[in-house]
Amino acid sequence: MLKNRSIVSIDDVSQPELEDIFKTADEMSDHLKQGKPLKILDGRIMATFFFEPSTRTRLSFESAMNRLGGSVISVSEARSSSVAKGETLADTVRMAESYSDVIVIRHPMEGAAKLAARFSSKPIINAGDGSGQHPTQTIMDLYTIRKELGNINGKTVTMVGDLRYGRTVHSLLLALSNYDVEVNLISPEILKIPEYIISRLPKNFKVNVSADFDSAVEQSDVLYVTRIQKERFTDQNEYLSVIGSYSVTPETLEKMKEKSIIMHPLPRIDEIAPEVDLSPKAAYFKQASNGVPVRMALVSMILG
């Protein structure tokens, strides 16, 4: 179903397709545990273009492709690419499609992956476009909730932090609106979720846009914490006024439900205290490690 398809927005993946990805990711996870080498994508090439810094996303895509028996070509940094010489993204993509079978792109501008998909006959995977979307992060977030709590339906998810620029929360919120969940949104006033995201949610979707942190923590099955992103602020005074607004500490853990988890797309700064890492509720490193089997599943289904 996903064969040869671009994944630009979370809307590009249907509910049944998500379930297929989750099942395949479980299988990939088993293969990884057993240390079995896979040759599913032998001879296939992934091109990665990261015009914005990335650690986890880039490494997990490249690891996933290598684990599947394929290989990766990439531009080490945007400054060394032809885009830095003034080439359009459209031309870069037209060139890359003849060198590879699938193209992974992260770009600082919204809509970049959509544009790339218009100019490429090879599938494009959006690895983050400005403050737009980050669909593969969302797929692994949903996978993590499902794996850690057994189900997504019936859960209460609280998103905390930068909800304005945080592309992971935009994609995740849109995806969660297809499930029977309740969502609390908590952020400083200037980092509230944009209206253009709220307007896309179904009318009957239960979302509380001005939740209180303490009471939301007590009700939540998932506490999804995000970093306040310094790089998205043009006014550094504005950044300084909101940094450290919310932090998860051992005291926060005490208020949480017994079977609940803390997630974070990482990197974190000070929004989760290091002491929290030892708690069984801390699911953010598992979430990051799920990036490999989930991306293995996705890429193998696209290039299948």
Binding site: M109, G111, L115
Partner: protein, 156 residues
């Protein structure tokens, strides 16, 4: 009585285009969309806040010797969704139609999001989907941001 008054205020044209039922107060924006200024060759008559049985008040613009292109009509539909266009030849109306908001709006509105990829040097036109007619909301097909009527007005 109103009809006589209107006739006196805005005289008939011989050949050209009449844009009627423009949302009251938007006539000047229509002229701006059509690039009509002091350097234009066409004679133009404008009626602003003309009483209308259908709309309460409306604006009317009559332009001599000018036919509108489709993209111009599409632009007008964004600011005056009830406007009607009459094509006049030798004082007779030969064609009349109401503007219609297109479901896909291509190349006529600049995306309001400065960080949208369509606002840099890339070989694509801006492109929006119509989300709602009243209130007017369109969504960029690239960055997925919505634009309301006020934002559209400043980006035409």
């Amino acid at each position: 009585m109103i009809k006589v008054e209107q006739t006196l205020k805005i005289s008939k044209i011989k050949d050209g285009t009449v844009i009627d039922h423009i949302t009251a107060g938007k006539a000047m924006k229509v002229l701006s969309i059509l690039n009509i200024d002091e350097k234009s060759n066409s004679s133009v008559s404008i009626g602003v806040r003309v009483p209308s049985s259908k709309m309460g008040f409306k604006d009317v613009v009559k332009i001599e010797n000018r036919n509108l292109e489709k993209f111009e009509v599409d632009k007008i539909s964004l600011i005056a969704p009830d406007a009607s266009i009459s094509i006049v030849k030798d004082y007779e109306v030969t064609q009349k139609y109401t503007v219609e908001l297109p479901s896909r709006i291509v190349g006529i509105v600049k995306c309001h999001n400065a960080n949208c990829i369509t606002n840099v040097k890339e070989p694509v036109s801006s492109e929006f989907a119509l989300v709602s007619k009243k209130p007017l909301v369109i969504r960029c097909n690239f960055c997925e941001r919505n634009m309301n009527e006020r934002e559209i007005l400043t980006s035409l």
